[in-house]
């Protein structure tokens, strides 16, 4: 892996590999995650994907992608720490599999550059038709999180827990702010985005670095560049004096219990291990006790938010089992803190994490996602470095770090029938 600067605020992470059928090319603008701008950035990416000056509509664009053997260009909007990453991920078959040995990297890079630098405009604005239809689609997409009750509950917990902090902002922003966007404001935001935000590019495939760099320099020759903003400082999480409880009712048959914890320790490798023991794998204490032993749920798992120093628990339960599940989750956290572990648990947690780091290089998507997260949050450890940190974690460090984990917010989604 190498990361080089191609132009002002434009970086290429080059991940050479000959073992895949495809090449991956990703271009991501990294901006601070904020309520005021999150929806605008999401909308910009969706509009840009509708067409570019040389491929002005979906028909022309998809014709071009078909010609490149079904190349794909997907809009991606991701949250990495308190940064929002907005852009495109292109996947194309590797040149060696193109019948006739055509070169596909250069035209694919050129197409990405076109989408970013030369949108379809009229009177200095995005086409009104694209603006309106993508705005409607974005509002629908924001609303549709309700359809997946687990994702909905997880997102509601984070919003409640991090009210007033960028980390509580969902990656697509919200409906009201989207509805208020208008064409001039959005086009100004687009110019601002491509001129002064950092652009992180990732390539994984069989091409030499010089060839990738040449293709990208040519493709991005028209990218306007001014002073690029430095990455945002992370806002530290503020722990409430007493844990807060929020509950909500929807017409559902299964309840969702979410619990958010704040981690006082900065020892992230120890917290990662502690979380894996607590609820981060299918051998964790939550899985073995809340699910296997007490049969309270199908899923109960926890996630360590490394950048922000939080742990969140997600579970689906019968409404009336709220207290039993709550008590058991707290009891299992206490067990990890006190070091009540069987011999195999520690090594299983460690091997699970090491296996995940070791196999990351076998997936272009995972590599891209990992290195984007690193670049967006100003870190430079490789998966191997993180694996070394995990190897070095001692049980004492885990107990000490997990001792600083405090309950912050509880979110409970329950059914409507209980109202009667």
């Amino acid at each position: 892996m190498t990361r080089t600067q191609l132009a002002g605020g434009v970086f290429l992470t080059y991940l050479p590999a000959k073992k895949f059928k495809t090449s991956l090319l990703s271009a991501q603008f990294v901006v601070p995650l904020r309520w005021e701008t999150a929806s605008a950035n999401a909308l910009i990416a969706a509009i840009l994907r509708r067409g570019a000056a040389s491929f002005p509509d979906m028909g022309a664009l998809s014709r071009r992608l078909d010609e490149l053997y079904g190349a794909r260009i997907d809009v991606t909007i991701r949250k990495k720490g308190e940064a929002q990453c907005v852009g495109f991920v292109a996947s194309l078959i590797d040149d060696c599999f193109a019948p006739g040995e055509e070169r596909l990297l250069e035209p694919a890079a050129a197409l990405l550059g076109e989408l970013i630098c030369h949108p379809v405009t009229r009177d200095g604005l995005f086409l009104e038709e694209y603006f309106e239809s993508e705005k409607t689609n974005l509002i629908d997409a924001i609303r549709s999180i309700l359809n997946d009750k687990r994702a909905y509950a997880d997102s509601r917990l984070l919003q409640e827990m991090c009210t007033g902090e960028p980390y509580g902002v969902p990656r697509l922003g919200n409906e009201q702010i989207t509805a208020a966007l208008h064409p001039q404001l959005l086009f100004d935001a687009y110019r601002e985005l491509i001129t002064s935000s950092r652009l992180e590019i990732f390539y994984s495939g069989s091409a030499e670095r010089s060839r990738v760099e040449d293709a990208l320099r040519a493709a991005l020759a028209d990218l306007p560049r001014a002073d690029v903003e430095p990455p945002p400082e992370l806002v530290p999480h503020v722990l409430p004096e007493e844990p807060r409880t929020v509950s909500e009712r929807l017409d559902v048959t299964q309840g969702k219990l979410g619990m958010g914890f704040s981690c006082g320790s900065k020892d992230s490798a120890a917290l990662l291990m502690g979380n894996t023991l607590f609820g981060g794998s299918s051998n964790s204490k939550l899985f073995l006790n809340v699910r296997e032993k007490l049969s309270l749920c199908y899923y109960a798992s926890s996630l360590y938010h490394r950048q922000k120093g939080l742990i969140t628990v997600s579970s689906g339960i019968e409404f009336e089992n709220y207290q039993r599940a709550y008590d058991e989750i707290m009891a299992q956290l206490e067990a990890v803190r006190k070091g009540q572990l069987e011999d195999w648990e520690l090594e299983a947690a460690r091997s699970t994490l090491l296996n995940a780091y070791a196999s990351m290089g076998d997936s272009q998507g995972k590599l891209e996602n990992f290195f984007l997260g690193q670049a967006a949050t100003g870190r430079d450890e490789s998966p191997e470095d993180l694996a070394d940190q995990v190897r070095a974690v001692t049980p004492e460090r885990i107990f000490e770090a997990m001792g600083t984990v405090k309950l912050d917010t509880v979110y409970f989604l329950q059914g409507k029938e209980a109202e009667a």
Binding site: Y69, D140, A348
Partner: protein, 423 residues
């Protein structure tokens, strides 16, 4: 093991049939660290009625899935923990027609494979451990019942099929699983988890000979009899034309499906699958005139999509997503299918679609999981999935139009809708 080289895909597949009837496939990936093993039985949610020792058995809906959950229990404890100690990530799934157990790992591969083969072939349940699973699976069922994507799909299948057991929910219902006992689980295991009803696929940096040697050593020496199954007597007609459910969702969703002619096992299945996929691309793929028109009219959004599916005795094509006007979109899809049959496809669009579809099949080979599942489905369906480049070469526009004319007709179509609950 015998290697078969697929030059156009850059892959080699080692194959062998053991004396006990087990099929083995190994796809070496010398440049990868990850090793992936997939051990599957031809037994899924649709196999509820079958013959064992000359007697027909009717088993509760959801039993194959329940068995999958219980297979991880071993006399010594639980196979999940055994695998986890070696850093392996194990899991399993049950579909309509198969149950598959798998893990991926970077270290201790042989040891992990041995654990996989033994826990799947040696059942160990007690009445108590079976009863304990009811709570867990009931919560899994509640979770999917709250999921509109699952509801709309399950309801479409029940509209398309009157009798076929493909309409049975894979997980069953909270009621149906309450009838499952340790004894029925043992019966099902005995019938379907015999080496001659199973296939082991390994993808990764492994030695094919080692895989086959290990399977010979660990698995039972004898295969089992062929188990007759009864999927029900399915008429050509649909069960229902329309089905609709109100749920807590943000916007209306729909799925329109066409009950297609079933495809017997054999090499023709692969051709039919490629035809079905091409029919989807030409009819409503992102490059199709219809998709672009409906998208610009705001009648569909990027949630729109569809596919062609095959199971024993079952074949259907479906399309759907969120839409404010599901009926309009369903009608437009039918109109477009009729138009294509009548007027044909633009020759340039057809060539491009072939090209793109080939690229997307090739992309699928990046995924070890996908390789293993395709090889397994190919074995159960009697075809070699890695022959797809040759199948693409031989397909003409005429073939796809014939497919549309025979299958995508108004008499064969049903509509499943989910609408938001009134506030």
């Amino acid at each position: 093991m015998t290697p078969v080289r697929y030059e156009r895909l850059g892959e080699t597949v080692y194959r062998e049939t053991l004396p006990n009837g087990l099929e083995i496939r190994v796809v070496p990936k010398p440049d990868h660290v990850k090793k992936y093993a997939f051990f599957a039985t031809r037994y899924g949610g649709m196999d509820t009625r079958f013959q064992l020792n000359g007697k027909w058995l009717d088993t509760p809906a959801g039993i194959a899935h329940y068995l999958e959950h219980k297979m991880f229990d071993t006399k010594e404890g639980n196979a999940l923990q055994e695998l986890a100690k070696n850093g392996a990530e194990p899991n399993a799934f049950t579909s309509n027609a198969m149950t598959g157990y798998y893990f991926d790992s970077t270290d201790h591969f042989a040891e992990n494979l041995e654990i996989l083969l033994s826990f799947v072939s040696i059942p160990y349940f007690t009445e108590e451990s079976v009863a304990k699973e009811q709570g867990i699976i009931s919560q899994e069922i509640r979770m999917i019942e709250d999921n509109p994507d699952w509801q709309i799909y399950a309801r479409l299948l029940r509209a398309l099929y009157r009798a076929h057991t493909a309409r049975t929910s894979i997980a069953g219902t909270v009621e149906s699983i309450s009838h499952i006992t340790a004894e029925t689980l043992y019966d099902c295991h005995k019938a379907f988890y015999t080496p001659s009803n199973m296939i082991l696929t390994v993808v990764g940096n492994v030695d094919p000979g080692e895989v086959s040697g290990l399977a010979r050593r660990v698995l039972p020496k004898e295969g089992g009899p062929v188990i007759p199954r009864d999927y029900g007597d399915e008429p050509e007609a649909l069960a229902e034309r329309e089905t609709r459910l109100a749920m807590e969702v943000s916007s209306p969703q729909f799925l329109t499906g066409w009950k297609c002619r079933p495809v017997p096992e054999g090499e023709d299945r692969l051709r039919r699958m490629v035809l079905g996929d091409l029919a989807c691309d030409l009819l409503f793929g992102e490059s199709s005139p219809l998709y672009q028109r409906l998208y610009s009219q705001g009648l569909i959004n990027s949630s729109f999509g569809g596919a062609f599916e095959l199971m024993p005795g079952v074949a259907y094509l479906y399309a759907g997503g969120e839409s404010k006007e599901p009926r309009t979109v369903a009608a437009e899809l039918q109109k477009e299918a009729d138009r294509l049959v009548r007027e044909g496809v633009d020759a340039d669009f057809f060539q491009r679609t072939l090209r793109a579809s080939f690229g997307s099949s090739l992309r699928g080979l990046n995924s070890f999981e996908n390789i293993a599942v395709s090889l397994t489905e190919g074995y159960f369906g009697g075809y070699d999935p890695f022959r797809f480049p040759e199948v693409f070469d031989a397909i003409t526009q005429r073939d796809v139009l014939d497919f549309l004319r025979d299958n995508v007709t108004v008499e064969r179509s049903a509509l499943s809708e989910i609408v938001p609950k009134e506030a």
